[in-house]
């Protein structure tokens, strides 16, 4: 185990950033003080179906992983046991409502969503986890303006509770060209307009770099212009959603530097599907590529 990593992950949980930096400067030296503003690393569990959460935690900690994400409440104890965070909690669902295809853009889903998100927000708060994913749902013929209005209506019903518990609802931007045909929250401009319509610091977007490269490109410019609406980032190689290395078209280190330059203090979640045999080695490589 790397002792510096452990100390750093403990420190990231402190709220007072300036005080932390000063303390680090004294205790660990200038090099580690610089490391304090570096990208916090997370990984999505679903990309490693054959690895147990326990094993993923043990392996990930060796190379600087600070969080495993998109977990349901039954898994919270495992990450906590390893001293890891869950930077993005998975969505609740009931009768298919809450899933990517069926969510906040339909008024008829709202009663169910309020019910299941009420419970999930409390579970997040109890565990000390701060961010909870949500989706727009598919268009299914719904125009973007009505879809946005409906999302705002539904989310506003649950946001007072989220605000009370300090939990941020984070809607994911997904591509509708390849993976999620007809998904409505598929452009950052639409997502930003929804954030503005809602006007709460407890509602933000998950800017998935893979999905947005497929839908709109111009990644760094978009991040720099709209980062105040982005609460979380995901990675993935384009095309293919595999390793984020030189086999695909995005220069991830440059994108990570752009994220850093916005003063981002959250996590970057690795969400690629490893193509190579050694899945954990691919994850380690992803974390290294994003360590800038």
């Amino acid at each position: 185990m790397n002792p510096l990593r452990t100390r750093r992950s403990a420190l990231t949980q402190l709220a007072a950033v300036t005080a932390t930096a000063a303390a680090l400067g004294q205790r660990l030296g200038a090099a580690d003080a610089a490391a304090q503003v570096k990208i916090n690393h997370s990984a999505c569990k679903w990309c490693y179906p054959k690895v147990s959460l326990d094993d993923l935690c043990t392996a990930g900690k060796q190379f600087g992983l600070q969080s495993i994400e998109l977990l349901d409440p039954p898994d919270f104890a495992t990450v906590k046991k390893h001293g890891l965070h869950c930077a993005m909690v998975s969505f609740p669902q009931k009768d298919g409502i809450g899933r990517i295809e069926k969510a906040f853009n339909r008024l008829e889903h709202h009663d169910t969503l309020v019910e299941i998100y009420t419970e999930r927000i409390k579970q997040c708060a109890d565990a000390g986890f701060k961010q909870l994913i949500c989706f727009s749902g598919n268009r299914a013929g719904l125009d973007d303006e009505t879809g946005l209005k409906n999302c705002a209506t539904g989310l506003k019903r649950i946001l007072p509770l989220a605000e009370k518990h300090g939990v941020t609802l984070v809607m994911e931007l997904l591509n509708s060209r390849v993976n999620h045909k007809d998904y409505q929250c598929d452009k950052s401009a639409w997502g930003v307009a929804l954030c503005q319509a809602i006007g709460s610091e407890r509602f933000k977007l998950l800017y998935d770099i893979y999905h947005m490269q497929i839908m709109e490109g111009d990644v760094i410019t978009t991040i720099k212009a709209r980062h105040q609406y982005f609460a979380h980032y995901h990675t993935g190689g384009v095309p293919g959603r595999n390793e984020i290395d030189d086999t695909q078209e995005l220069n991830y280190p440059a994108i990570m530097r752009a994220i850093q330059s916005t003063g981002y203090k959250g996590y970057v979640g690795q969400e690629f599907i490893p193509k190579r045999e050694d899945k954990i080695a691919s994850l380690k490589q992803g974390v290294q590529i994003c360590t800038v």
Partner: protein, 302 residues
Amino acid sequence: MHGVTPIIPIMKTSRRSALQTAAFAGVSVLTASKVRAAEAGDHYVAKNGRINQSFVTWNFRPLTIPELAKLAVKFGVKSIELVGPEHWPMLKELGLKCALAGSHGFAKGFAQPDQHAECLKVLEQRVEQCAAQGVPSVITFSGFRKGLTIDDATKNTIAGLKKIAPIAEKHKVTVALEMLNSKVNVEMKGHPDYFCDDMDLSIRILQAVGSPYVKVLFDIYHVQIMHGDVITRLRQYKDFIAHYHTAGNPGRNEIDATQEINYPPIMRAIAETKYAGFVGQEFIPVREHVRSINEAVKLCDV
């Protein structure tokens, strides 16, 4: 944006004159002695032969066209492009090609019916010159939209390109319609109100024209700004691509790890499409020019 005044209504080959007087005056401190110093050091020579490289010239000012031609020879690059016929004999003497000839400027084009005659006149003459001198392709543009509906501008562009198609076919010279970004409102980095700012629409236009000698110029920088999903698109549209351009994004500068486009895998994807044309380096260096050019040659020599 509608009705935006054309920013620099000039020929692409004379972009440099605008650049000299504008924000890029600062780069002219690059002196001849510095060029020689950089040339004297170690340099990379393209050797793999999977990607034919070319240099666009306006963006590498203050390096002159003859200086760039000498660098091309030195770095194993086979072409200097978007230069007029007056430079072609010099290129031939050095064993270089001109992969893409300049023509009318990007502020005029086939989206506007009242500009058809002027563009056709320039293109007809240039196609004949290309055929006589072995230049395989010539650039063309849509020009600005100027308040036209997309449907009308599309119809106009198809009609205009259909007029040049038989001449291109007769001489076996490819006319390459360039797609530019209309998003970045910085001189020579984007072109607000330019009509052909959408690769998918550009391809639909080419399909309607239906000529094997009217294709698209796939500028990777512009595509990344307007669309992303570069490798998927270049595979999807490989049969319609006459030429490629490079530059880093954001900024249109060096194409290395300082920006978001990972060029080596894109070059490998281009080679895998059996592309036999050229890739023109069209970035504006912010660092020492000769070194940046050489690094770009290396990155694209996959």
